[in-house]
């Protein structure tokens, strides 16, 4: 009988982001034949356009700066932001392995990070590293180079359309469309690829899948933009569900509060707000000229406050605060951030009532100068400066769909759990944003990268440890 399989590998990985490539690198150390399939004509997915922010508890930079931190503290931050909807076991693994994973990217991949930490909203302490080029491509490029060294092929334009299970319910391989032209699902040629050891699903989130996301969260209508790459769609997740995977919290979809109204997607403005506007500046309601929330709150709280009663928000920061954003020059060049010599000019250009704005800034500055507590609960660290050094910068904000907390259920070994038996589906692993539960109601900024790489590596190692089938 002629075999239905056109090709056979030890391990078949779907998706070439952080999760897929880390799995490939770990698996490739043990297995001679590993392949990564990617539906887009370019590798890297959301990972390569991400901000390259990486949270690690108990890191070398924290030690140098004498910042007290621990995986326990990171975990408690995750649970607080996640409203305790997190899968605690998985969340704990991310927190505990965060520093180990960070060091792996440095030692094994040669990733370069900036020599200072950032303090992102919702984190109790500054624990966020940032790649030297302020982008996830600073990690994706070395990962791809490593795969090339190891002889692991990344086959582009190859779209996973279906998983194929044995009669006994084991994962056996995948049906793909080769020479696929995104997003045409009929394009390409059908082909079946068998996995001797295991299949790893790493297809990322679905923030760009307008049809699917509005089913999960009816508030996320078509007209709401997203920060994601075009290929962040749900087919990989759906294929897994069809193969018996358990869906977890698919309706928990996060919006980013820091995105700019004046550019598409994530752009350069988001990093400006995250690194400068929120920690070193203030968030203002354009109509009232007043603050309305702790700028360093977790994303969900921010977005909820920003969207309530149709607020329009801008972030304001002065020259000292603006320095913290490495994307400032690009923001100014593209008109995403505007520069003003005085608060008066800033208010006029943004249609903000001047008197309340001035008062707001004065009150905020005196909080800092006198070391008082902020009524919104914003942490005011010792090195925070009053907003008083011109020029002043402003950025107009709008919330954009950013991250899918939900996905398929996995266990601590990154095995996909069956919806009926609650047992792992044999030879089937998943990692990264396509999985659900780690972050609960809201993912903290810079926590996705440690999650994707940590579980990617776990999946890769465990898949490679499977005995090859005959």
């Amino acid at each position: 009988m002629k075999s239905i399989w056109a090709e056979e590998y030890d391990i078949v990985i779907i998706g070439s982001g952080f999760a897929g490539l880390s799995a490939a690198i770990e698996a490739g150390k043990v297995c001679p034949s590993v392949i990564v399939l990617e539906k887009m004509p370019v590798p890297g997915g959301n990972s390569s356009i991400s901000g390259g922010l990486f949270a690690a508890a108990g890191s070398p930079l924290q030690a140098r700066e004498r910042i007290m931190d621990s995986p326990e503290l990171m975990l408690s931050d995750m649970l607080a932001a996640g409203l305790e909807l997190n899968n605690k076991e998985l969340a704990r693994i991310v927190a505990e392995k965060s520093t180990e994973t960070l060091l792996w990217t440095i030692k094994e991949l040669g990733v370069k990070y900036k020599p200072r930490l950032s303090h992102l909203g919702g984190h109790s302490v500054a624990r966020t590293y940032n790649t030297a080029n302020t982008s996830g491509s600073g990690i994706i490029k070395p990962m791809l180079a490593k795969c090339r060294d190891m002889g692991i092929p990344i086959r582009l334009r190859t779209y996973l359309s279906q998983f194929i299970l044995t009669k006994g319910g084991e994962m056996e391989g995948v049906a793909v469309r080769e020479n696929y032209i995104f997003p045409n699902r009929e394009s390409g040629v059908l082909k079946r690829i068998r996995a001797r050891r295991a299949v790893i699903l790493a297809t990322g989130g679905f923030s760009e899948d307008k049809e699917f996301r509005v089913i999960q969260d009816p508030k996320l209508t078509e007209d709401i933009e997203s920060t994601n790459h075009q290929g962040a769609t749900a087919e990989g997740l759906i294929a897994a569900l069809k193969a018996g995977a358990t869906p977890v919290q698919l309706s928990l979809i996060q919006l980013g509060p820091w995105a700019s109204r004046d550019e598409e997607g994530f752009g350069v403005g988001s990093m400006f707000s995250m690194l400068a506007g929120f920690p070193y500046g203030i968030l203002i309601d354009v109509r009232t000229g007043r603050r309305f929330i702790n700028e360093q709150a977790d994303r969900k709280l921010l977005v909820d406050a920003m969207l309530s009663s149709g607020r329009e928000s801008i972030a304001i920061v002065d020259q000292k605060g603006g320095q913290h954003a490495s994307t400032l020059d690009q923001c100014l060049k593209r008109g995403v951030v505007k520069k003003f010599e005085s608060i008066e000019e800033l208010a006029a250009a943004n249609n903000v009532p001047l008197a309340p704005l001035k008062e707001t800034i004065d009150v905020y500055n005196s909080l800092i100068e006198k070391g008082r507590e902020d009524m919104f609960g914003k942490p005011l660290p010792m090195d925070l400066l009053p907003i008083s050094h011109p020029p002043y910068y402003s950025i107009r904000l709008i919330s954009k769909v950013h991250h899918c907390m939900g996905g398929v259920q996995i266990n601590a070994e990154a095995q996909v759990v069956h919806i009926e038996t609650h047992q792992p589906i044999s030879r089937f692993y998943a990692a990264g944003e396509v999985t659900g539960g780690v972050h609960g109601a809201s993912r903290l900024g810079s926590n996705a990268i440690p999650e994707c790489i940590t579980f990617g590596r776990i999946a890769g190692k465990n898949a490679a440890a499977q005995k090859p089938r005959t």
Binding site: G44, S48, I140, L144
Partner: protein, 417 residues
């Protein structure tokens, strides 16, 4: 305060009124529906002020009852807009309240302004279907992005997106402003990654040098190409051709760059080159073969000459000297054999052992080769039967034939001596 004074005051205090208005609109619960655009606000305020300026002291509502008389300064910009009548009125009324709060203290002027405002309001309501204030979308300025493109623009952008070559638009800072999908594919980077990237990071040092040079010396409308190394996202380098031109816009320079991945072309070129090299090598071999044939021919001629000198001529000499018939016959057949071997050319093998033979032994071998029996040899060489036998034994030893069932004649048959 008279009405004209009040009007001047309104215009002078526009900023303060605007601030108040912003706050009030927010509190009124109409925020989100009323535009907070400054231009729109100024237009409304201007209308009220203008109406008050032209109004006489006996102003009545009726002046505004008919839209024909209604002189709205912003009329020309009142066009399509999504704002509802209700939202417009809310913003308008709030503004009147703010004016009152900020400047109008006398009851008389306040009343007059209210009259004017009411009249305007009525007129707007009556005429709502016919005209609407302009620019009143939820977002004061349209969110950045192209206005709906015309058909030729759409076609142009479709071409831009679908051409088989990569296109990059680069500015004075070497920063990439725009790319098409093919360019993304060539470098393995998403559009989001490529935009904002320094073009020089996509090539090696010499490629960066070439580009810098092009940027410096290109004049508008000129086009230059070069083959430079491209860098793929995984660090692999590939051959590419870039064609750079320049276009100036609003005093700034831009460089549209067309990129071609030459990997396949280079493979084809390499194959062609290899094929060419192979034919050249073959030519060379043929030449050497011809040369060696030439040489062999010379060698052959030399050998023939030597052989005639060493083997044939002495034989003839011997025959001429000999009186015995038997001897002459042997030498004649020997001669025949020698001549035959000359015509045979190079096919005969040379055996290492043959070189060890003495002259007498070689002579005996030649006789054997020629088919002479031991007796014939005794006669021909005038030596005893035993001596020939001893020679034969020694020959066999030297040729490594002792103990082998191989006839000396057979062995010697195809060998040249």
């Amino acid at each position: 305060m008279g009405i004209h004074e009040a009007t001047r005051e309104i215009r002078k205090s526009e900023n303060r009124i605007f601030q108040e208005w912003l706050c009030d609109v927010h509190d009124s619960g109409y925020h989100g529906r009323v535009s907070v655009d400054r231009k729109y606000f100024s237009m409304m305020l201007d209308t009220v002020a203008a109406a008050m300026e032209t109004a006489d002291e006996n102003l009545t509502r009726s002046r505004f009852d008919s839209s024909a008389e209604w002189d709205f300064p912003g009329l020309h910009i009142i066009k399509e807009s999504g704002i509802t009548l209700e939202a417009f009125l809310a913003g308008f009324k709030v503004m009147i309240r703010c004016i009152e709060r900020v400047i109008l203290h006398s009851d008389a002027t306040r009343l007059r302004m209210r009259n004017i405002a009411d009249a305007m309001e009525l007129a707007v309501v009556a005429e709502w279907e016919n005209f609407r204030p302009a620019g009143l979308s939820l977002h004061p300025e349209p969110i950045q992005g192209p206005e709906s493109p015309t058909t030729p623009e759409k076609i142009l952008s479709a071409i831009f997106f679908s051409v088989g070559e990569g296109i990059l638009l680069v500015d004075q800072d070497f920063e990439i402003l725009k790319t098409n999908p093919r360019a993304c594919e060539i470098y393995g980077l998403l559009e989001q990654n490529l935009i904002g990237t320094d073009i020089r990071t996509l090539t090696d040092e010499s490629g960066a040098g070439t580009l810098t040079l092009f940027f410096e010396k290109l004049i508008e409308g000129q086009r230059l190409s070069a083959e430079i190394t491209g860098l793929y996202v995984d660090g692999k380098s590939f051959p590419s051709t870039v064609t750079v031109s320049r276009s100036d816009l609003d005093g700034k320079r831009y460089w549209p760059i067309i990129v071609q991945d030459d990997t396949e072309q280079k493979i084809l070129e390499k194959q062609l080159r290899q094929e060419k090299q192979q034919t050249e090598e073959m030519n060379l071999t043929l030449k050497t073969v011809l040369k060696s044939i030439e040489q062999d021919k010379k060698d052959f001629e030399n050998r023939v000459a030597t052989k005639i000198r060493t083997s044939v001529l002495p034989g003839i000499h011997k025959i001429s000297k000999s009186s015995h018939d038997n001897v002459s016959r042997s030498y004649l057949s020997l001669l025949e054999q020698q001549l035959l071997s000359l015509t045979k050319g190079f096919e005969n093998e040379l055996h290492g052992g043959l070189l060890k033979l003495t002259r007498t032994e070689i002579e005996i071998c030649r006789l054997i080769q020629a088919g002479c029996s031991t007796k014939d040899i005794c006669n021909a060489m005038r030596i005893s039967y035993e001596t020939v036998q001893t020679h034969r034994k020694n020959i066999r030893k030297k040729l490594d034939l002792t103990g082998r069932k191989l006839n000396l004649h057979t062995f010697l048959m195809n060998r040249s001596l």
